[in-house]
């Protein structure tokens, strides 16, 4: 079992396990701020194909034209002039764990990644700051024709055309300011291709670690699950705590072909100085399914709304998410779905917990287009407020453009019931434990969807958060 799981290290889960820093000695670092020169420099260093160089410069243009959104939590603390767009660790990519430099290796070992790979994963990718440092996939999985590699290799190798055909087609740089930024400076990330009919029985996992102070991480994940294939992909994120802002503006593009199924699980535990402005999107063809499982615990500020475009008849999406905002955190999360074909369905279940001045916002948009008859959508979101310093907002929107739709939405907000606390206490359970038990129970329907080691970690995080006395005043 990995370190993360060990009970006696609970206290480390939040405070120290992720919160250690390596001495920075990158081989190359751009100047803070963003200019065409910096973008050119990145492109040159990475040895981009010409089209990518142009793509980056165009994206930078778009970035400069777009403004930050007028909604959502403030991002004033983020000064782009201070973001070192690109930090490249002092190493090449490795296929063998033993070749990864010791300090980086130690980081991932402390996070339990290689351990987990041996135990329960079909393949692992690890990104350190801007570059993938390790990528490996099990032989038997590779033999089925499954490709799992870093984006840079994919851009130049055998799959170059496939990458070019799909790269930022789902999330164009024009989508919003941070998508444009991503287009200009993206670096690292994973490329996965699962051939038709292949079912990858054990999950693939990418782990992202941002170590450098005041840096940005802009990894790009591109996954294509071909007809009738199945994949479970797990993404984990962490960073140590610095007192300057870090930025994560990754991009995830998922292509789910006819009859295919993709499960995409994320546990995000960035440190609390992180601005997490991430864009995730899936395009689902006829009879395909995308399942999102999302746990958001870290970051100072998050904007995260995985979007599913149900493009083929009978396509389905499920979204299961939990957000826990503690002191100083403003986590604006949710989901978007566009029903673009008949008989598509969406099912969204979210929970949020606000504590110690933390602010959770659930935000969603369900759109049913004119041509999409016979669609079903259900949304259920529940929020728990643990004190009155905190805040919890629910901002869903539904846009229905034909009459043959069945759309349901329900939301609830409340507190831990005094009666339930009394009931548990009447069985000898201490008040703090009773409250923690009720909160874990509240989160349970979501945590049971998470990979088991993450579910354990999540319960530890909740327990840890609950052990800290919360103040009742406004």
């Amino acid at each position: 079992m990995s370190k993360v799981l060990q009970k006696d290290q609970i206290a480390e889960v939040d405070h120290s396990l992720y919160d250690f820093k390596d001495v920075e000695h990158p081989s190359f670092e751009t100047n803070a701020g963003l200019t065409p020169e910096i973008v050119e420099q990145i492109s040159r260093k990475k040895g981009d194909p010409e089209w990518m160089r142009e793509f980056r410069l165009k994206s930078l243009d778009i970035y400069n034209q777009l403004s930050v959104p007028e909604w959502g939590p403030p991002i004033d603390g983020l000064d782009m002039r201070n973001i070192v767009a690109y930090v490249r660790p002092d190493t090449q990519m490795h296929g063998k764990w033993s070749d990864v430099p010791d300090d980086i290796k130690n980081t991932f070992e402390r996070l339990g990644i290689p351990e987990a790979e041996r135990k329960s994963l079909a393949g692992v990718g690890a990104q350190y700051d801007s570059e993938i440092v390790y990528h490996n996939v099990r032989k038997e999985v590779a033999e089925q024709g499954v490709v799992y590699t870093d984006m840079e290799s994919a851009l130049k190798g055998k799959y170059a055309d496939m990458v070019r055909e799909h790269f930022m087609k789902l999330v164009p740089p024009t989508d919003h300011k941070f998508a444009a930024l991503h287009g200009a400076v993206w670096s690292g990330g994973s490329f996965v291709y699962v051939p038709p009919g292949v079912s990858v029985e054990i999950p693939l996992q990418s782990y992202f670690r941002l170590n450098a102070r005041g840096a940005g991480q802009f990894e790009h994940t591109l996954i294509i699950v071909d007809k009738g294939a199945y994949l479970h992909f797990i993404e984990g994120c962490s960073a140590p705590k610095y007192n300057v802002a870090n930025l994560h503006a990754g991009c995830v593009e998922l292509f789910v072909e006819e009859g295919a199924r993709l499960r995409y699980s994320t546990i995000e535990n960035w440190s609390k100085n992180m601005y997490n402005l991430n864009t995730k999107r899936a395009l689902v063809k006829k009879g395909g399914t995308v399942e999102w499982v999302s746990g958001s615990f870290g970051s100072h500020t998050s904007y995260l709304y995985p979007m599913s475009i149900l493009q083929g008849e009978g396509a389905r999406m499920e979204f299961t998410g939990i957000t826990f905002a503690g002191k100083g955190q403003q986590l604006d999360t949710g989901a978007k779905v566009v029903h673009a074909a008949p008989h598509t369905s969406s099912h969204i279940v979210t929970k949020s917990i606000s504590k110690d001045g933390g602010e959770c916002t659930y935000r969603s948009a369900v759109t049913i287009q004119k041509q999409a008859s016979g669609c079903k959508s259900s949304v259920s979101c529940e929020s728990l407020m643990l004190d009155s310093q905190s805040r919890s907002d629910t901002i869903p929107a539904m846009d229905i453009r034909n009459d043959d739709a069945d759309v349901g939405h329900e939301a609830k907000i409340g507190r831990i019931s005094d009666d339930a606390v009394f009931y548990l206490m009447s069985r000898g359970i201490r008040e703090e434990d009773a409250r923690a038990l009720i909160v874990s129970g509240f989160a349970e329907p979501i945590s049971k969807e998470l990979p088991v080691e993450y579910a354990v970690e999540m319960n530890n995080l909740i327990k840890l958060e609950m052990d800290q006395e919360s103040a009742p005043v406004c």
């Binding site: 206490m425 069985r427 129970g441 989160a443």
Partner: protein, 250 residues
């Protein structure tokens, strides 16, 4: 060991500023079974809640001693760890926490010892069987979607697992069909021994059939107006509470 298990004296208690109990006295010794009867609104459930220290109820005067120690100001969980248990009339639903996990946590809490996992599981299985509860209930969320009868059985299950010194059964028989009443009363019989005690709040004589009742109390207007032996139950079945209340008023 004190010879008295529970001693309630001069108890005045209110909820939302309204006085429900006014000057109640009650003593229960180890090994005894007491029955508390009375018309609706007399304060029967209030007494159970106050003995367990429900913060919604305010004690204005009087004392509650348990095994000779004053617990009037103690928190609910501490009282439970002393060995006081109440079977709730309508127990709370707690989503996300399975019945089994809950029992495990509370068993650990009341015994203050680490749990012997296999012994616990065996005991749980056996006890559920004796209550005709399907095994799958152990994995279901606590009381969520349980029928009225299943909720009551789950309460009795908790009592049997936690083995309290004093069990207060608040209308445990209400809303049960004949078979369920029989099962529940069998469970109660199974629990009872010479060192523990029962305080049964009920409307119904049925649940008491197999039990040796030591004392019957009639509660009206927040006070015990009459105490007697099991024969009082028959009297009440025949004539109702009205004559007793009128007698008390004179």
């Amino acid at each position: 060991m004190a010879d008295k298990l529970l001693e309630v004296s001069g108890l005045h208690a209110s909820v939302d500023g309204k006085e429900i109990l006014n000057g109640l006295n009650l003593t229960v010794s180890p090994g005894e079974t007491h029955v508390l009867m009375g018309p609706n609104g007399a304060g029967k459930s209030t007494l159970g809640n106050v003995i367990l220290g429900n913060p919604e109820y305010k004690v204005n005067a009087g004392k509650i001693l348990f095994e000779g120690e004053d617990i009037t100001k103690e928190k609910t969980d501490a009282r439970a760890r002393r060995g006081i248990f109440m079977s709730f009339q309508s127990p709370e639903e707690v989503p996300g926490v399975t019945l089994e996990d809950f029992l495990r946590v509370s068993k650990r809490a009341v015994t203050g010892k680490p749990l012997k996992v296999f012994a616990f599981q065996k005991q749980l299985k056996k006890t559920m069987e004796s209550l005709s509860m399907d095994e799958s209930y152990a994995r279901r969320y606590l009381n969520v979607g349980f029928s009225g009868g299943e909720k009551k059985k789950a309460e009795i299950l908790q009592m049997l697992i936690l083995q309290p010194k004093l069990a207060i059964l608040d209308e445990t028989d209400s809303g049960l069909d004949v078979d369920a009443v029989r099962i529940v009363s069998e469970g109660i019989r199974q629990y009872k021994n010479e060192s523990n005690a029962l305080l049964i709040i009920t409307h119904n004589a049925k649940i008491l059939e197999n039990l040796k009742v030591d004392a019957v109390h009639v509660l009206a207007d927040g006070k015990i107006i009459r105490t007697g032996g099991p024969e009082l139950i028959d009297e009440i079945s025949r004539t109702g509470f009205r004559p007793l209340e009128e007698g008390a008023a004179q």
